[in-house]
């Protein structure tokens, strides 16, 4: 949940009256672009990506033009440009035109959480305009401050003094930067980065900080950002239909976090607990369809809905239904297993049988009753199964599920299909 770029960034900065570069959106008229070039001498053209994706400048995805023709050429080049960085890739949909702010000083500013200090932390340097990793450490101030008091003027002043910032930029920054704490703190942000802030001189040479690029991350668990009334499609970009459906059930009770690992996978593994989620996803690799954490003692109804959605999307292609978790502390195994077993039974009732091998590994309260329900369901549906207690190492159980999956691929699925009287086993 990130916002990058000035298109929305400038609107957010307006909330706290922090000056920002003039920006025009993808639908800007040629007259408006031309007028902007006349006012500022030149404009920057930047592609608009949904969500956050970094290192755009280095990839040459930043255009600059001094006339309308150049600006339109850059618009054409960047409007639908694709960008790959690390494991992320993004496709632009539109560009912004940003008035150039000529300045002598470029400031890097960010607010974030530091796990070293365990406090909100200001990071600032007067050597901005480049990646912070490339700036000499001695020019960077990292200053934790009290969350209850907030980032006050003295925090900024002390930080700038510590790194020997030029005296002329200190006063304007001390006046303007504390506003950004209001934005960060009151609208549910986890990070806020402005790089660069350019120090624009007025006619009398007095400097004003002007934000020229914007990046922020929002906290999914904090409703404060809803106050901003941002269009929801800004964040909807990278959720599949399946993930969207599951997300609708997200409440504070029960995690119900999912991620589609491989939509061609053959092991459907509803996983309980973040730890189990890490272990299972790591070991199953591409066999796994989803990575999930359904722990946190979900109530019956929610568990059943979650399971029903999983089955509807993935059961037909699955060789193995693999229900796995450690020895739970308070997740009621009877309730969660009953819910999943009922969902499985209803799925079979509605969509007909599908060849499946059920592997379960679990521990926790009401364990045997829960296992009993799953056993009865497998028996009723005619599915082969193995159910392990917590005295079998979880990693061994994962390996077992993988071996079963291999057997299913090598003809086991067809055997079960024949046993169930399913005429067409979906090739898996």
């Amino acid at each position: 949940m990130q916002i990058t770029g000035m298109l929305y960034g400038s609107k957010l900065l307006e909330f706290v009256e922090f000056p920002s570069a003039e920006v025009l959106g993808p639908d800007a008229s040629e007259e408006a672009i031309k007028a902007m070039i006349e006012r500022h001498g030149s404009v920057f053209i930047k592609p608009v990506f949904k969500g956050g994706v970094g290192k755009k400048g280095k990839a040459g995805l930043l255009g600059r033009a001094k006339d309308l023709k150049g600006a339109l050429a850059e618009k054409e080049r960047l409007y639908f440009v694709e960008h790959h960085h690390g494991n992320q890739s993004a496709k632009a949909n539109g560009v912004t035109f940003e008035g150039a702010v000529p300045a002598e000083h470029e400031i890097y500013f960010s607010l974030s959480v530091s796990t070293e200090f365990r406090a909100p932390t200001l990071t600032i340097t007067h050597c901005g305009g480049m990646d912070i990793e490339e700036v000499d450490e001695k020019h960077i101030a990292r200053v934790p401050f009290d969350a209850l008091t907030g980032m006050k003027a003295f925090v900024v002043a002390n930080a700038l003094a510590d790194i020997g910032a030029p005296p002329e930029i200190i006063s304007p920054l001390v006046q303007q930067l504390p506003k950004l704490w209001e934005l960060y703190h009151n609208f549910g942000m986890t990070t806020l980065e402005l790089n660069p802030i350019r120090m624009r001189p007025d006619r009398r040479g007095r400097l004003t900080p002007v934000a020229c690029d914007f990046k922020c991350g929002f906290d999914r668990d904090d409703a404060r950002w809803h106050r901003l009334n941002l269009p929801s499609e800004l964040f909807a970009a990278d959720y599949s239909d399946f993930e969207q459906e599951i997300n609708q059930l997200r409440t504070h009770q029960g995690q119900s976090d999912v991620y589609v690992i491989n939509d061609k996978g053959t092991v459907l593994a509803p996983t309980f607990g973040g730890g189990a989620n890490s272990l299972v996803t790591e070991m199953l690799g591409d066999d796994a369809i989803i990575s999930s954490d359904f722990g946190g003692n979900p109530p019956y109804e929610k568990m059943k809905s979650v399971a029903a959605i999983c089955f509807r999307h993935w059961l037909a292609q699955s060789n193995v239904l693999f229900v796995i978790g450690g020895k739970s502390n308070n997740t009621d195994i009877f309730e969660t297993f009953r819910a999943m077993a009922d969902a499985l039974r209803e799925h079979f009732a509605k969509h007909g049988p599908t060849p499946l091998f059920v592997v379960i590994g679990r521990g926790g309260p009401n364990l045997v009753r829960g296992m009993g329900v799953f056993r009865d369901t497998c028996e009723a549906l005619g599915l082969p199964y193995r159910i392990f207690g917590f005295d079998s190492a979880m990693s061994e159980v994962v390996d077992y599920a993988r071996e079963v999956n291999e057997w299913m691929k090598a003809g086991g699925r067809a055997q079960i299909a024949a046993r169930l009287g399913v005429t067409q086993a979906v090739a898996a």
Binding site: R118, N277, E335, V368, C378
Partner: protein, 900 residues
């Protein structure tokens, strides 16, 4: 700004040794103690810790208590109120919802000057709140654990605070030993302790740190407290990506660190535990490197390549922790705390190949589980049927639901559109046993219900007739009959059903229709035998057995009963039939034992009610409605008999299909329908928590009394409307498309008339009457509107080549209303039209012959509704008595209103 604590930290830390984290001297106050999670977990913690919870809070619930086996824990509105009452505590546990957690922390800190530690269980707390929580704790000098954690436990002190480490039986996992645990995963804190125990290592203090961005009690201060804890010889850390906590920890004792989450580098956003995913310098690879440097090792410990030093080992699989720990400790000349308690190899507790040959590698034989699970699995084998969790069932049903989008209701997952294609007997099985069953099952229902259809000479018939005579509506007539089928009449068969469940489960009966089942293992004493076998022939029993033979019924219990003696009792035969019927669903744990024990009563009740819809003169010694008694039991279907009772004549095959469709559609309309509410209220009032006290016949009276001329009898409105429209026209056979009527002209004429009438009423400011059976609040606003239920059934009849002139008229009418400008679009013909048109088509011959008065037609419409709905309500009643709580349908005082 922080208080000065112990150690050389840049922030406040108050705990100098792990032994201080959870002690027997700690006294605990739990915020939101009555919440869902706390009310389950806190009693276990309290009892295991020797009673450490002094009180809890829950706003507005002061005066309540949380029951525990050590006595009740008092609940107050607020912390201040608890302190004012004289309680003192040094530990606060926060179970509040995420948006309230920060305020709860503030309350604990500001109100109680003796506070030392806070444990936050709440997950999904906003980072915004987390940093304020951190700042408040630092300012006041309070150690905070969590959030998003499962609290802490100490195996030496036998204390756990906040959360549920060790589950519902902490001693099973937490055994005194020498290893401390710090884990980002609450679940794995317990799982690791369990794994260690199997390898001979016990535990000291276990800290579930949580995995929020702010971890308030993290690795650096854990390492410090570990150094100062004489009991702890080593520690196990379980770490996920995100945060620099481990990097800054300075360990002086051996450590096994399990770092997971390399796979997260493939993700583009957080899954599961919050925190960094990849790319940062605090991802899994970075954390692995930190630990390797600390331990002076150059690789990951695996069983194949054990890399470790005396300082520690790094693993990436929790299953390798015990072996790595043993290796590291051996290098420190230290042996495990006790003999290993087991191995971690694969041990399936349950399994089946379902007749498929598996390769040896995956064909693992089922092994005995460890105690106490072994005993539980043994007990499971003897447990028969489903056990439902009890809950408040007001406006909730486990039997029926309505899909708000399609408006189609379903009963046990079968939509009314599907049910409309089932026979009445199949739908009865569906309602009570959740499965419509097969041929054998239908035969069983037909006999079991058939035995009670003819009410000749019974008080039920006398009561029904008296009610009818006094002018009561059909529902009241049936209620009078139902009142005569009370618990006393049902008890003998119920007892036999209970006995048969016991005997045949013990004997291992899998398929009840298996005639060849060897029942020789079943032994009964003389007294039991006397309950099943009488000294002389029982005519009803004989008739049912004959009918079973005539219908070719297969039943192991019945076969066993017949072989037991010459004269089986009628209740025993009935119970044998119903137990056979229910055996599959019972084995599959779809229904409870209680339901199967109730089944004979249900059969009797259903028979009585359907029988009572036929007037007294139709019940004779020889038979019912002209159907001979032997045919009634041995041949007829329930659908046939019920249709006969309704029509007053033998139904043709078209009539039967129409009747079946009609009753199927009417089975249920979800738990919100008034009829269902009446049934549920009646169960609730009897107290379903003692299911044997629920009077099924009274519950049916509850349903019946909650039907009436507006709910159930309203099917007649459509009939009356059609009669008006067809008055003066000659119609010989409504099933013939060659009826000779110009329906379009009739419809157009009425549309004009209605349009004029409506315009006139608008003039005088009154509302025009609505045309019954057209339009629907959901299926509207399209140019041409269709009620999908009507369309489904219409196509069903079309496929059978059946025609219904009344239905055709309705379709012409909605078009004419639009064509004449009366409606803004083409209204749908709704599902009620099906009921009216089907009914009128069936009744038309009698109506034409003049043998049916308008009020009798109305009675017939109402009765058809009751036939269908009584089956749906039986499902509702059975569901509520299995799941509901005593008096759960009442409305709280706060929600009722008074109007003047």
């Amino acid at each position: 700004m922080h208080q000065q604590g112990v150690g050389d930290f840049a922030y406040y830390v108050g705990i100098s040794s792990l032994s201080q984290i959870a002690t027997r001297h700690d006294r605990v106050c739990v915020l939101n103690i009555l919440g869902g999670e706390s009310s389950e977990v806190t009693p276990v913690s309290h009892v295991w810790s020797g009673g450490n919870v002094v009180f809890g809070t829950a706003p507005g619930k002061s005066g309540q208590v949380l029951e525990t086996s050590l006595g009740p824990v008092p609940v107050f509105n607020s912390v201040r109120e608890g302190l004012d009452a004289g309680h003192r505590f040094n530990c606060g546990v926060v179970y509040l919802p995420p948006t309230a957690a920060r305020d709860g922390v503030a309350e604990l800190i500001r109100v109680n000057p003796e506070l030392k530690k806070i444990f936050i269980i709440t997950e999904k707390i906003a980072v915004h709140d987390a940093r304020e929580i951190r700042a408040m704790g630092q300012q006041a000098g309070i150690d905070i654990f969590g959030a998003n954690c499962l609290g802490v436990a100490d195996a030496w002190n036998e204390v756990r605070i906040g959360g549920a480490l060790g589950g519902d039986s902490p001693s099973d996992t937490l055994k005194r030993g020498s290893i401390a645990i710090l884990s980002n995963s609450g679940g794995f804190t317990t799982t690791i302790a369990q794994y260690l125990r199997m390898a001979g290592w016990g535990t000291t203090t276990l800290v579930s740190s949580g995995k929020d961005i702010y971890i308030h009690y993290a690795a650096p201060e854990f390492a410090f407290a570990l150094a100062n804890d004489a009991r702890s010889k080593a520690a196990v850390l379980y770490c996920e990506p995100g945060g620099y906590y481990e990097r800054d920890a300075d360990f002086t004792k051996p450590v096994v660190a399990c770092v997971v989450g390399r796979w997260k580098s493939r993700l583009t956003r957080a899954v599961g535990h919050a925190g960094a995913m990849a790319g940062g310098s605090d991802d899994a690879a970075a954390k692995e490197a930190w630990f390797m440097e600390k331990f002076g090792v150059d690789g990951i410990y695996t069983p194949d390549k054990p890399v470790f030093s005396a300082k520690g080992a790094l693993v990436t699989n929790i299953a390798h922790i015990p072996a790595a720990l043993t290796a590291v400790m051996r290098a420190n000349a230290t042996l495990p705390d006790f003999e290993p308690e087991g191995t971690m190899e694969l041990k399936p507790w349950f399994g089946s190949n379902m007749g498929i040959e598996l390769p040896a590698a995956i064909d693992l034989p089922v092994v005995q589980a460890m105690p106490p699970y072994r005993e539980q699995i043994g007990a499971l084998a003897s447990q028969v049927g489903a056990v439902f969790a009890r809950q408040n069932m007001k406006d909730i049903s486990g039997a029926s639901q309505m899909d708000p989008r399609t408006q189609v209701s379903s009963l046990h997952g079968v939509t009314m559109l599907q049910a409309a294609q089932n026979s009445l007997e199949a739908n009865l099985a569906l309602a009570l046993l959740r499965e419509a069953g097969g041929r054998n099952d239908r035969a069983l229902v037909n006999i079991a219900v058939g035995a009670f259809l003819n009410l000749h000479g019974t008080p039920a018939l006398a009561a029904a007739d008296a009610a009818r005579e006094s002018g009561s509506a059909p529902n009241a007539v049936l209620a009078a009959a139902a009142a005569m089928v009370g618990p006393r009449a049902a008890e003998p068969a119920r007892q036999v059903a209970a006995l048969m469940i016991e005997l045949f489960s013990r004997a291992g009966l899998r398929r009840a229709e298996d005639d060849s089942f060897d029942a020789s293992a079943i032994e009964i004493d003389e007294a039991t035998r006397a309950r099943l076998i009488g000294s002389e022939a029982d005519p009803l029993a004989g008739a049912m057995i004959e009918a079973a033979i005539a219908r070719g019924v297969r039943s192991a219990p019945l076969g066993w009963l017949i072989r037991l003696g010459a004269h089986p009792r009628a209740e025993a035969v009935l119970a044998a039939l119903t137990t056979t019927l229910a055996w599959g669903p019972l084995q599959r744990k779809r229904v409870s034992r209680t339901t199967v024990e109730n089944l004979p009563w249900w059969m009797r009740l259903t028979g009585t009610l359907i029988g009572a819809t036929a007037p007294a003169e139709q019940h004779t010694e020889q038979g019912l409605c002209g159907i001979a008694q032997t045919r009634l039991l041995g041949e007829s279907s329930l659908t046939e008999v019920a249709a006969t009772a309704l029509l007053g004549r033998a139904p043709g095959s078209d009539d039967l299909f129409a009747y079946q469709t009609l009753t199927g559609l009417l089975l249920t309309n979800g738990p919100g329908a008034i009829s269902a509410q009446g049934a549920k209220g009646a169960v609730s009032a009897d107290g379903p928590e003692t299911p044997s006290r629920v009077q099924l016949n009274k519950a049916m009276i509850g349903f019946l009394s909650h039907t009436g001329f507006a709910h159930g009898g309203n099917g007649f409105e459509g009939v009356a409307f059609l009669l008006e429209r067809f008055a003066g026209h000659t119609l010989a056979d409504p099933a013939s498309p060659d009826h000779g009527l110009d329906l379009t002209a009739m419809a157009t004429a009425y549309a004009r008339e209605y349009g004029a009438e409506r315009a006139a009423s608008k003039e005088v400011g009154s509302a025009a009457r609505n045309i019954p059976c057209v339009n629907h609040p959901v299926f509207k606003d399209k140019p041409v509107n269709i009620d999908p239920r009507e369309e489904f059934v219409r196509k069903l009849f079309e496929a059978r080549g059946e025609y219904n002139v009344f239905h055709d008229y309705y379709r012409k009418l909605v078009q004419a209303l639009y064509d004449e400008g009366v409606t803004r679009n083409v209204f749908c013909v709704n599902v009620d039209a099906l009921i009216a048109t089907l009914l009128l088509k069936m009744m038309w011959p009698a109506w034409q012959a003049g043998s049916l008065a308008p009020n009798e037609l109305e009675t017939a419409a109402f009765t058809a509704f009751l036939h269908g709905r009584l089956i749906g309500c039986a499902a509702e009643i059975e569901d509520h008595l299995n799941r509901g709580k005593n008096m759960d349908t009442r409305t709280p005082q706060s929600q009722v209103r008074f109007v003047a």
